[in-house]
């Protein structure tokens, strides 16, 4: 996405967004005083569009669109170096998690590949009860249009007898699928409630 150049705060400041982030993450955003330790500690800063401290700043300024459409929130690996070192006791990882949840809910996810991977992963879990690693990669590759991705690893893995050609299907897979279903209806309810 394009970097913000000029902000007219009166028009774009979204207080409700700040409250929602705080509620979802359980963290108080105003505690951040922009020391930059999160970004200094983050091993992913080099691939982010906005470094973590700027994400925090954008939340403070109520910039919902910029935050939820940023690539950074989807490139965060939740390694928690930021949470561990934050001098203000903010669990930054939880803020990033909340933003991903919100961005997904709003359908403004910036990195489609990641979404495909997560979707296929959960589909696998819902179907078999456990994730079917061997089946997952080709589907993800197919859907993201990078057919040869990681294929050179396959011989190594098969030689070590590490992958199965068939998924491991558990007896309680219907129980697991039911958890997914209950979760989805809970989420719909929550969304409807929040309007």
């Amino acid at each position: 996405m394009e970097r913000l150049r000029t902000l007219t705060l009166n028009n774009t400041f979204d207080e409700h967004f700040i409250r929602l982030v705080e509620e979802e993450s359980g963290q108080q955003i105003s505690k951040c005083y922009q020391c930059g330790n999160c970004s200094a500690s983050c091993n992913y800063t080099f691939v982010y569009d906005y470094p973590v401290n700027q994400i925090m700043r954008l939340i403070q300024l109520g910039q919902k669109a910029a935050v939820l459409s940023s690539r950074s929130i989807w490139l965060c690996a939740a390694c928690t170096a930021c949470s561990t070192r934050c001098p203000c006791n903010i669990e930054v990882t939880r803020v990033m998690e909340a933003l991903r949840v919100m961005s997904l809910r709003e359908g403004i996810i910036s990195i489609k590949d990641v979404e495909v991977f997560y979707e296929e992963f959960l589909k696998s879990v819902k179907t078999f009860g456990r994730v079917f690693e061997t089946g997952l990669l080709p589907i993800v590759n197919l859907r993201t249009g990078r057919l040869t991705n990681d294929m050179e690893l396959a011989p190594k893995v098969f030689k070590a007898r590490k992958l199965h050609l068939l998924p491991s299907i558990i007896k309680g897979r219907k129980e697991v699928a039911a958890i997914f279903d209950r979760f989805e209806s809970w989420q719909h309810q929550k969304m409807a409630h929040k309007g």
Partner: protein, 652 residues
Amino acid sequence: MRIGVFVCQCGTNIASTVDTERVAEAARRLPDVVYSTTYVYTCSEPGQQEIQRAIEAYNLQGVVVAACSPRMHEPTFRRAVEKAGLNRYMFEMANIREHVSWISNDREANTKKAIELVRMAVAKLRFNQPLFPSRVAINKRVMIIGGGVAGIQAALDCADAGLQVVLVERKASIGGKMAQLDKTFPTIDCSSCILGPKMVDVAQKENITLYAYSEIESVSGYVGNFTVKIRKKATYVDWTACTGCGVCMEKCPSRKVLDEFNEELSFTRAISIPFPQAIPKKATINPKYCLHFTKGKCGICSKVCPAKAIRYDMTDEVVTEEVGAIIVATGYDLFDPSAYGEYGAGQYRDVITGIQYERILSASGPFGGHIKRPSDGKEPKDVVFIACVGSRDASVGRPYCSGVCCMYIAKQAILTKDHIPDSRCYVFYMDIRAPGKNYDEFVRRAQEEYGVQYIRGRVGKIYPKGDRLVVQGMDTLLGVQIEVEADLVVLATGIEASKGARELAEKLHISYDQYGFFMENHPKLRPVETNTAGIYLAGACQGPKDIPASVAQGSAAASKVLALFARDTIETSPQVASVNERACIACGKCIEVCPYGAIRWKELKGGIKKAEVLATVCQGCGLCNATCPPKAIQLQHATDNQILAEIEELCA
């Protein structure tokens, strides 16, 4: 009794959430109340005049003011009623500001509560008796606890005014943290050159008694008459004989003792003089390392000492000093950076603290004033300074700003450039706090003249790479991660309360804040007084402070002592316990519970024993009153009758 009630509006402080008219109206209906009114600022001159006019006009015998906390204005109003001819204890105060108007916006509830508080005050006042203070002589000697620059300044100012001064220092030499510093900001004065002469003055003033290597054991008494027990820790050297020649130190075979003065960057001996300019310049044995104590052999120092001063059998000694006032100047300690695992302090030898760097810069330091790094003695070319290590960091329990680090970093960076012109200095900072005279200009000079790189952001991690360290930080102004390869990293560790500060505060009966800094009586108007009369504060024991502020406070505390000592006697409060001997059953419980030792046995004719209160020692805490089974001991101005009257009124 004829009582007048004055309800203060305190501008809008009270009036905005309390209906003061209704409070005055309700008071008018109380028994014995013959006059009641409300006024915008009762503490102002016209407000006080109104009270005095009413006393005369209505022939009042007691006065209630419903206003702020008695801590704020009780003395003011007591003086006012006294001027109008009443005894100052015929006055009561109801706190309807801090206890009412400031804590709730519910006007109706507030008004009700204010009325209740006024009713209680009136009920109590009806049982009040005129009380009269007695006078006691002031012991015009002053004790100063802590021999850093603040304590030294206070000691010299008091001594110059002709007072007898007792200076108690925990370490073997006075000088405090300032003695360890190389130069001082923003003038780049040599620290020991400006402090040294003052330390010598302390030694030379005949009216200063110095107890070095000594700690406060206990404090009793009250303003004008304190009794302080001082523990003189065993030095194992007779300091009256020791000439400070240093032969013992030279010959001592126990050489692996980390030098505390050099912040453990070098070694000293088991017997040592802390540093060449030490006052007193006397040797002390560290029994943890001395072979005589650890192995039961050696004795070399004893053999070589030309003054025959070594005393292996020395023990701690407790001495008692009587003084009329105490100045506390116990200074500060520095944050232990090992809480920051990501910086590897303690793990990487070339990650050091600011005070360690002071020692490295100092000509009397471990490397003779040549900048070398601890790991291999190499001269560093890239030096990184990290600000706010243990300051403004809630995650390590230090959310406050230490106030001096920004300045000492700028100084150390400038000195680094002076020592090693081709070196490069980098400062990771969050904000620059340089509000003193010529301070910001000094930081600008570091950047403009010396080319010190200031990087706005905190550091996330430090890790070794070859024999260097990689500092991984953030430039928040650019929004990019910054990596600097450094030869030396200096952590600007923040100021924290001195070790043992809380324990000392409890001995002195003074308050301290959540971080262990001593509390001043009023943050603006009484900055060097404590809540305990006769005990004053100076320097960083009250909160982070630089040298000018510490010196100013040292002088301020001295002036307070001199003002106190300008009188020959002081009034003692009559709000003390007294014994009704007819009711006393001599059970002795009051003697047991009294925290001040103010109650003792008294023998009447026929060997009958009764409790007796030493009015000058009693602090009026009321513990005895609450404990006494037959209620024979009563606290004046808070007698059972008075308290019960208040409670009955509240429950009525």
